[in-house]
Amino acid sequence: MILETKNLTKSFGLRKAVYSLDLAIPTGAIYGFLGPNGSGKSTTIRIMTALISPDKGEVIIQGKSVQAHGNMALSDVGALIERADFHKHLSGETNLQMLARMNGTDFTRVQTVLDRTGLGTRGQDKVKTYSQGMRQRLGIAQALLSNPKLLILDEPTNGLDPQGMKEVRDLICELSSEGITIFISSHLLDEVQKICSHVAMISLGNLITAGKIEDLLRDSDLLLTEVHVNQVADAVQLLYNQPWVHRCETNDGVLHIGIGQDKITDMVQLLVQNHIEVSAVIPKTSLEDLYLSKLGTESQI
């Protein structure tokens, strides 16, 4: 595990922001961190990055406790916490050079990360002339500056247009393919599902569920696939007895099958072999369903 939180607890006055939170982020994962507003996501991330001290518990990054070693435990971490704020009266490049100077990072990295985030030609301009999307990209650039092994991103697509969001999403996938572990908090469930391998959900500071997205969907009986066939009754009878089918229902002449993504080919093959025509197979399950099933009621507490 590259990052672990153990019994993390933090209160602000009488309000418990995070309560006994245990997380384990595997090396190489893209880990989504979900929860409604005020659920404790930002507080958790700020504790992970030494911005806030926990009342109890600790954050361990690559075996080093952030609480015991302070910022020294963050040597392989790049972070973007909420909005990307910089010295607006200075250029993007100067801001990054200042940050590079703090860590003793080579200045050549500045242009590299500017190019990588699409700001290569605007680096000399003052930050106050940047759009919100450009500032956010500069925020990602500063997180990449020290060649991190772990990237912690809190709402990184905030303020970005759809094109910008896609660019950030692609960049995250690219970074992940280079072996960087990414811990990302976002409200955009669709986006999290597109890029994340793991997810954790919290509500009112408590961990509700955590694990691989596919496992969670399967375990929660929410991994549904819509199948359009010509003989619905026969198809139900055939699929109902298969061990890899978790659920089988019909609705308006359409089959709703609870099945793993890896078994869809087997299912189609089986139906066709039994002379049942398959006209469409549509994966219907989204992380949103899981989110709502887990947090829809929890967040009402």
């Binding site: 911005l51 435990a73 040597s75 971490v77 972070a79 100077r101 703090m102």
Partner: protein
Amino acid sequence: MLGLIHNELLVIIGRWRSYIGFFGISILMPLILWGFVHGSNELHQDYVRELGGTFIVIGNIFNSFLATYIIMNTLWIHIPFLITLAAGDSVAADGSNGIFRITLTRSVSRLKILVSKLLATYIYTATLLIFCAFWSLGVGSLVLGTGDLITIDNGILILDESQAWVRMALSFTLAILVMCTVATLCFMFSAMVNNAVGPIIGTMFLIIISYMIMGIPLEIFEKIEPYLFVKYFNVWWDAFKDPIPWGEIGKKLGILGLYSAGFFCIAVYVFLKKDIKT
């Protein structure tokens, strides 16, 4: 650490508020010098009246040294205010602007960041006073000329020109150290809050209240006086005494140093414990 100080100086240089002090001095000093040029006769007569019974005064005793001495006597509320404009921003502005979310998530200790901010604030303070000296002594010498310095404070002290330069340099050095105490006080307030106005008001409030307490001749206030750090602000005056009271200067600087250390320790304690929620 040098890299961090470099960063802080870049921030100070880039902030428009940092230039208010220099701008203010650039307006104030020429005005004062102009006033001295046109009103020097009056001041010259006052001095001659004081000295007339004892000395025969030949020529004009009103020169850039005397002008600087008089200016330094009048700016002890104004210069601290100009310094607080930068010192108040040093920590608080990074909090309110969200910069700490970027800088404090890096593998650099908070203590190092705080020390670099304080040292950059000291550099700014020193630069402002050197700029003040440039105007009063540098430009003042061109406008009013140089000569002997005659000061009247529990007696008359006449310093020849070469001595006057040395005493002025010592006096400005002491003034810089005094103003560093003011900067540290403001810095402490800056570490406590997330806006720059509070530290400026807090610092000026303490200085003005302390001066007021010192100005009221009541026994209870006289007992408090030794504990007011502004009481030791006049250490720069000691540069114009003969012989120079090094012991007294050391004692006053030591007390101001202790105050500065105390202010800084409080700033460190607050800053290390501070949750960054902005």
